[in-house]
Amino acid sequence: MSPTERSAAAKSNDTSEQHSTMPDAGGLSEDSAPLWIHDLTVAYHRKPVLWDINLAVPEGKLIAVVGPNGAGKTTLIKAALDLVPRASGKVMIYGKSYENQRHLVGYVPQRESVDWDFPVNALDVVAMGLYRKIGWIVPVSRRYKDKAMESLEKVGMAPYAERQISQLSGGQQQRVFLARALAQDARVYMMDEPFAGVDVATERAIVALLKELKDAGKTCLVVHHDLQTVPNYFDYVVLLNMRVVAHGATEEVFNEDNLKKTYGGKLTLLSDAVYAFSKDPRLPSGTKGSHQ
């Protein structure tokens, strides 16, 4: 039985009303959506996470991805960026696989994902977003350093360009990460918990930046943990708990009913089932998509 078949069986138990086979978001098609996910299941070695995700994200919106701990928010982004193996499913960025659209996507990983005691300064980190443009072997030239500096200015970190990254505060480190993605000059930004553990100044800077990106027609998918600020900061919401509970414009889907479905205990049976499924020895444990 393939994961898709299994998921179909599981769906009939609990969540039949939530899923259509094809994603729908204001008539977005596979070709035009900044991010289009079909039947994505990720349940790799010891970490059951995503279950039959269908999602199409509209262009030019600020999109929050919310859900409880372990709901698979980070995994959703990582699966979209080919960082984790998929058990099944398809991800498209503007109609093509991520491999062909890397230049269109700016990725802001979780701040804790790297060692900040690394011997580089803020400007060096931001310049990393330009390495692909610079190409192999060639060192970072003046021109690209200026470009990196521009990105630092956008997040208000220009005065700290020469500072070693371990000597920055948590919020400042987060802004450096944002600047690195900005330097790429992408069309879609995927940010993993940029607001986690940051100071007020940084939170304001990020919000202003998101507005700016939106005005420039960019799409931002942001993993977010603070439900209170969702209606203020974002105009589109994806409620996630292993599967997509609901997605749509904030005013339409961000309501108590859906939040209860996302955060309530109703889904324990599903998570148990997914967990059992993740122990299936036939699942890939490192190699990509062998069950497709």
Binding site: R46, L83, Y107, P109, D115, P119, M128, V138
Partner: protein, 494 residues
């Protein structure tokens, strides 16, 4: 005891010991003599020998010293990225895993009737097995529930055990002599040939070139591997190349330093470099220099003293460099940390003194204090004003005096100078702003805030104070606890 003295006397009489060393090392040859080893233990070099070695007159010494210096250089360069990729322990496993490769290659070649100790063949065998060892670690990590440290420990000991067993077999083979093989475990520079030195030199040059060319790419995958992957860099291949450099340096270094100690050359120089710089470029250069220096000093010392194994001395030299860096490094060395802590302690103490004096000034309405202000505070009054030791207070007074914050009349009476008054005002203000903030915004009971403010006032910077000022426009409404007074009072003084 008496007999011992007699023995030593006779030893000195026999001039068994080289002259410059006679004072330092009398005891060692004495015990050694008893074991019949006097000729071989810890002889310091004669002057002539010293000059011969240091000027590289001797061909063999020249080869060894140049070879080990280049080895240290290469290991230092490559080791920097190894360390930053957090693979220090993996390199230890990898070097131990080479032993079965060496033994097996020897057995195979001897069995086929060749010369078993062909260096190139042995190195290739070692490299193959170190890669096998690495693969074993990765397989265990991925397909079992064991943690990384267990995987590393298992692979290291199992491969090494097999290596030792195979060495035993090799030494009992009828054709070929396996005698030199154990030198791969502990290292033996003396056997280094010109060809070996050239090989090491080529490796050093090669790894230096790769590290310079791929500096940017290596930095990226060391700092943020997943981000590099999303950018489309061939992270696996880059990682593989980096580990290949480590394998090459390891197997090249085996003969000189031995497989147990070669890992030290990879890890210690970059660790030491870390204490001098916060820039990766400088760290790579320094690490290479430190590695080269360790090789140079170690092999020179070992050439000077007949019975010191070079591998061990090289590692000891590297650790000397490390300990020196740890202690005196300019980027986070212990000494520097100590100075900074001392400076902060002094600053805190001085600010506490100034604040206390300022608060006493505020009590000037009472007759007793008024006269004190007139004549200056006595040492005893200040001592009673706060819980500090008299030694600490004396030190603090001295530092405040030399900073021109207070003046003494030579009679153990102290008053604030204008500069001191201004400084004190700033500190008191910070203290009260913070107290007010804790009361109004953090919901802390007024009786509790003083202690918190005491700790924080010293670290508030200008930016934070401006924020506090904005948040607390109307301090009059805040009821601050009695001992420190309202801010209005404070403002009226200046």
């Amino acid at each position: 005891m008496k007999s011992m003295k007699r023995l030593m006397k006779s030893l000195i009489a026999q001039r068994h010991i080289a002259l410059p060393a006679c004072l330092m090392s009398t005891l060692i040859p004495a015990t050694a003599k008893a074991a019949g080893l006097a000729e071989h233990v810890f002889e310091l070099p004669s002057g002539v020998e010293l000059i011969r070695v240091l000027t590289l007159q001797d061909y063999n010494t020249r080869v060894v010293i140049i070879g080990t210096t280049l080895l240290g250089l290469a290991a230092g360069l490559v080791g920097t990225f190894l360390l930053l990729r957090k693979r220090a322990l993996l390199s230890d496993t990898l070097s131990h895993a080479t032993l079965p490769g060496i033994a097996l290659t020897f057995i195979l070649i001897t069995y086929l009737g060749g010369e078993g100790k062909n260096l190139i063949a042995l190195i290739i065998g070692a490299a193959v097995f170190s890669v096998l060892g690495t693969v074993s670690v990765i397989v265990i990590q991925r397909y079992s529930r064991l943690k990384d440290d267990a995987a590393l420990g298992i692979v290291l000991s199992v491969y090494f055990g097999f290596g030792i067993a195979l060495l035993g077999i090799a030494s009992r083979m009828e054709t070929g002599t396996a005698a030199g093989l154990s030198s791969f475990i502990y290292g033996k520079t003396a056997s280094m040939l010109f060809f070996d030195a050239v090989l090491i030199g080529a490796t050093a040059l090669g790894s230096a070139i790769v590290c310079v060319l791929l500096f940017k790419e290596f930095t990226l995958i060391c700092f943020d591997y997943h981000y590099a992957a999303t950018q489309g860099w061939p992270v696996m291949r880059l990682d593989f190349l980096m580990m290949t450099l480590v394998v090459i340096v390891t197997v090249i270094g085996l003969q000189a330093v031995g497989l147990i100690l070669v890992v030290a050359l990879l890890i210690i120089p970059p660790s030491a470099a870390r204490f001098w710089t916060r820039r990766l470029k400088n760290m790579v250069i320094l690490s290479g220099l430190f590695g080269g220096l360790s090789g140079l000093l170690g092999s020179t010392l070992s050439a000077l003293m007949a019975n010191l194994p070079a591998g061990a001395v090289i590692v000891i030299m590297a650790s000397m460099v490390f300990i020196f860096s740890l202690a005196f490094g300019s980027a986070g060395g212990l000494f520097q940390q100590m100075i900074e802590r001392r400076r902060l302690t002094n600053k805190v103490a001085r600010e506490n003194l100034l604040r206390k004096m300022y608060e006493l000034y505020e009590l000037r309405d009472s007759a007793q204090t008024a006269s004190q202000i007139e004549e200056g505070f006595r040492f005893e009054d200040l001592l009673a004003a706060r819980a500090w030791s008299s030694a600490r207070l004396r030190r603090t007074l001295k530092s405040a005096l030399s900073a021109g914050m207070i003046q003494g009349d030579g009679n153990q009476r102290f008053t604030l100078t204008d500069k001191g008054l201004h400084e004190a005002y700033q500190i008191v203000r910070k203290h009260r702003l913070w107290e007010a903030y804790l009361i109004t915004h953090a919901d802390i009971a007024p009786s509790q805030v003083d202690w918190g403010a005491d700790a924080v006032e010293h670290v508030l910077d200008r930016e934070m104070i401006q924020k506090l000022e904005k948040m607390l426009p109307d301090l009059k409404d805040v009821k601050i606890p009695p001992s420190p007074h309202e801010l209005q009072a404070a403002q009226s003084v200046t």
